[in-house]
Amino acid sequence: MYAKIAFKGLLRRKWRTLFTSIAIALAVSIMILLVSVGVGLKQGTAMMYEKDVDYWIIPKDSSVTDIVSNSEKTMLGNVHQSIGNISSNPDIRYATPVLNRMLYASNEKEPKLILGLGLIPGNTDKFSIPTNNLTQGDPRFYGKPQTGEILINEKTARLFDLKIGDSVRLGGSSNRLNTSFTVKGIFSETQYSLSPVVVLHLSELQELTGNLRGDRANYIIAQGSNVLDYLRKYFPDTEVMGNSEYSTYSVVSDTKILATAAAVSIVSMLIAVLFISSTMIVSIHEKQHEFALMMAIGISQRSIAKIVIYESIFLSALGAIMGILLSYLGQFVLNMAADRLFEVGQIAVVDPILFIGGITIALFAGIFSGLLPVFMTQRINIVRTLADK
């Protein structure tokens, strides 16, 4: 009944409730969008599109999403052997080690740095990179000649004016561009990476970048189902995550994103507290006769506090829901504008954890904003307030 009193109290003042909710929604959506742009920019430098992957096997204290800062971190070794072993599990449809490295590329023009992604092409149709265009497996690793095949994204194609069948030289440094590769396919950069990318066989990238000894890769990805426990047993000293865990991990493990999230969350929360408190104080002032009456007939301070806190929480929850919807819209508009105006693919990636964050912030703001009004109700003088009527 107390929740009903609170809810109907908000309905009674529709416009004030609406405007306050919009203000909270703006604060929440700005928080979500700012952090999602951080996540988006980070994923823009990442080499792997999350939706392609069911399981991530990552060295402890490492990260797969930031190729630059990750380059010198812990790596996995003997990855071809590991992949050979786990691929025998029928529940694993496809698995490959992934090596991320910066490469120099040139085709008559001045060498430029691009992102190299080394993997073992396999039979999978769930990959946004068309690895079927490459020779399957990793023949070079098993002593066969280099395939010299690469896939590039549209950004690389534009940068070097390349089309399928063209050649480009790649190397680990600008003065060692001796190895020639042929473009076997061009894939879309939209929803993938903001950077120029080249995809090649793992061992060929290992050879170019000095990672062949020790057979090293940054991480392993796998497609399949119900193999999380199996993978955790097989790779006991690594972080093995499902895709949903990974989404959270990739955001939380990045201190820059965390710092941004913390800063904008605090600002959003302050804005929400300011709006909710103002509305609640006005509301308490308007309803002090009702509260005085309730006190007169024996309703406890605790019950009255419940009404105030419920009202505050309903207001913040409404703001949070509107904020989430607004952030969806904002994400769509931002990404469309970024793609159309700057041709940079998606720049905002709204992770579900941000929605939880937005709701949490709004609810905390709701509870916190209710405290002062609760205190105000405790100061109500029954006789004087009722006499004022």
């Binding site: 009456l293 006190m295 024996g298 309703i299 009722l386």
Partner: protein, 226 residues
């Protein structure tokens, strides 16, 4: 044992810098089942006395005893419990919660008292029957006439079966027909349910029906007629 008793009751308050002696040495003894009308001109202290008897205000000096318990020394929460279970209030301005239906307004004190939902519903329907408004159970206060609102307020006052009903000018805002209905209802509550009723009123027709009339003037009792 008197149902309600005051001993040397004083109430003083300050209006800006002027000291107002609202009640001076009030000594009263009210028995169970009495219907007491408190009369007097504006500013005579009638409402102040009702507030002190109803434990929503505290005396400057003196004591109020309900069933021989000195309520003047009770803590705020104990007074609230007393108001919830032993005292029923009816105000001049009806004072129903506008966001709750008639039925919910009546249920509110029972909910606070911890009565289970099924019992609350049953008691609410009984009270709606008693005030003749069962068919208005789901109406909002704004959809009820003044007289109907006051009858719902009376039903709410009876919700937790209190022994004392305190009414502050319950017919003050009503037309004469509605006023008569309210008077009849108060008489019924007094006679059939045996409740002690204390009414502050300017309404002579209401006062005439009381078993006792106390007149106040300048904060003092000037007559007390049974």
């Amino acid at each position: 044992m008197p149902h309600l008793r005051t001993v040397g009751l004083y109430k003083t308050y300050w209006l800006d810098e002027i000291k107002i002696q609202s009640l001076i040495d009030i000594n009263l003894s009210i028995e169970q089942g009495e219907f007491v009308a408190i009369k007097g001109p504006s500013g005579s202290g009638k409402s102040t006395l009702l507030h002190l008897l109803g434990c929503i205000d505290t005396p400057t000096m003196g004591n109020v005893f309900i069933k021989d318990i000195n309520v003047s020394t009770m803590k705020a929460n104990a007074l609230r419990e007393l108001r919830l279970r032993e005292l029923g209030f009816v105000f001049q301005h009806f004072y129903l919660l506008p966001v709750l239906t008639a039925q919910e307004n009546i249920e509110l004190p029972m909910k606070e008292a911890g009565l289970p939902k099924a019992q609350r519903k049953q008691r609410t329907m009984e009270l709606l029957d008693a005030v003749g408004l069962r068919e208005r159970a789901n109406h909002m206060p704004g959809q009820l006439s003044g007289g109907e609102q006051q009858r719902i307020a009376i039903a709410r006052a009876l919700a937790n079966n209190p022994s004392i009903i305190l009414a502050d000018e319950p017919t003050g805002e009503l037309d004469s027909a509605s006023g008569r209905t309210i008077l009849e209802l108060l008489l019924k509550i007094n006679r059939e349910y045996g409740k002690t009723i204390i009414v502050v009123t300017h309404d002579d027709s209401l006062a005439r029906q009381a078993t006792r009339i106390i007149k106040l003037h300048d904060g003092r009792i000037v007559s007390d007629v049974r």
